[in-house]
Amino acid sequence: MKETIYLDHAATTPVKQEVLEAMLPFFTESFGNPSSIYSFAQDSKQALEEARETIAKGIGALDREIYFTGSGTEADNWAIKGVAESYRSKGNHIITSKVEHHAVLHACEYLEKNGFEVTYLDVDADGIVDLEQLKSSIKDTTILITIMFANNEIGTVQPIREIGRIAKERGVLFHTDAVQAIGHVPVDVNDLGVDLLSISGHKFYGPKGVGVLYARKTVKLKAFIHGGGQERGRRGGTENVPGIVGMAKAMELALADMEEESARQRELRDYVKERILEKVPYARLNGHPEKRLPNNVNISFRFIEGESLLIMLDMKGICASSGSACTSGSLDPSHVLLAIGLPHEIAHGSLRISLGESSTREDMDTLVEALVPIVEKLRAMSPLYEDFVKNNG
């Protein structure tokens, strides 16, 4: 079989061998329920608390500000619906942006159906939220600003510190979905002025099905999943000890060499972007040219459609994405690309590649080599390209 070139690390990452090894004992040997009082369960309890420490340290938080969840999506839902419920008496207004992940957008839409008012901030052509609009949107009833750290589709990194400052000045809580940022850019909740933050294990070589909600100790956080007394009574359910241990190990490893690895990926990113834009006409980079994740390239190719492009790349053994994986079943063009002002049919023809630790310069060359004839072939099939050539030829 031909080799697979995996360029979809924003969708998910493999679990690292070291991470898996850290997890293994907790499946079959030290499998005790951390809530049990006998000494056999001490191993799992201790592993759980060490994982909490590791993660707290990784984002500059206190141990008791870390709550384990079953996914990044759950963390987003909890942060938003939890704050909405706890601060309802203070106000019913929430501010977010048009380029959030569906976990945030759909949680906000749910709240809109339940008596909340949500402002969806515009972004500029690079995908950055409008800070002036943010400031002028805040009112007496505003209880939460939720703006993602880095965009999963176009990689744009938001001015989190500035947003944190504005939120603080105006006495509004600030949540950020940092699912795509962890392991790629430094994240320190105090430095950034973030009150709540979401993490997902499988985006940085940890396991799927486990996440974190950070909530500053001053935040009144109501339970979202009610049950036993786990997570200081705020999130019921027997803790996923192996998953949590794996996520903590993965974060530790990711942070240990983040600086070099990010620099390496950034170079590859810029290299492949340049090569593509050079070789393929009518292509444009989406997202901010510098303020972007070190591993994200998102390019629109006019006149062609994303799925066809992905299938053809797949036949060459290249895994890439067009929009986010979790909506690849969807037919709508990406809400992110529409928000940065791309017309419908151009938004349709976008390619996201997201690099990882295994990515090499060779992979980049292979991608470009494969891409050029594929785009040509698809354009030759395209009625839009035909019209364009006729009208401009």
Partner: protein
């Protein structure tokens, strides 16, 4: 997710291209996904002598375009009109549920091309409706959310 036949027609589309001075040309857009398809016809004595397509769309859209053109080539206009999107999908060994709407694009583009042919030649074809702006399909039976 696609059948082997779909993949075959996607990677080696039959009858892809244009026809100079075509007797009928139809272009339709899919309201559900924004994709676009165009079909060219060469008609002699009421028989489709040649047919070509161009498609801006997903794998299923390309494959159904290809299969639809295969199915109508050499057929009379009336026979061609009887070919439904379901028949095209079936000839491709089926489509994923979320991709059924893509096959409508082929059916509608073909009808639009035949309509154009009829208009140009002053022919009235029983039961043939003018092309719609947008294609809608029946909503899937998925219960609402």
């Amino acid at each position: 997710m696609y059948s082997e036949k779909v993949m075959d027609h996607f990677t080696n589309p039959r009858n892809m291209g244009e026809i100079e001075n075509a007797d009928g040309v139809g272009t339709v857009g899919n309201a559900k996904c924004g994709d676009i398809m165009r079909i060219y016809l060469k008609v002699e004595n009421n028989v489709i002598q040649d047919v070509r397509f161009k498609t801006f769309g997903c794998g299923a859209a390309v494959a159904t375009s290809s299969m639809a053109t295969e199915l109508v080539k050499g057929k009379t206009i009336q026979q061609a009109l009887e070919i439904t999107n379901a028949a095209v999908a079936e000839a491709l060994d089926g489509l994923p549920k979320a991709k059924v709407h893509c096959s409508l694009l082929a059916e509608e583009a073909l009808h639009a091309a035949i309509w154009d042919y009829a208009q140009k030649n002053g022919i009235v074809i029983e039961g043939l409706e003018p092309p719609k702006e947008d294609i809608h399909e029946e909503e899937e039976d998925e219960d609402e959310d």
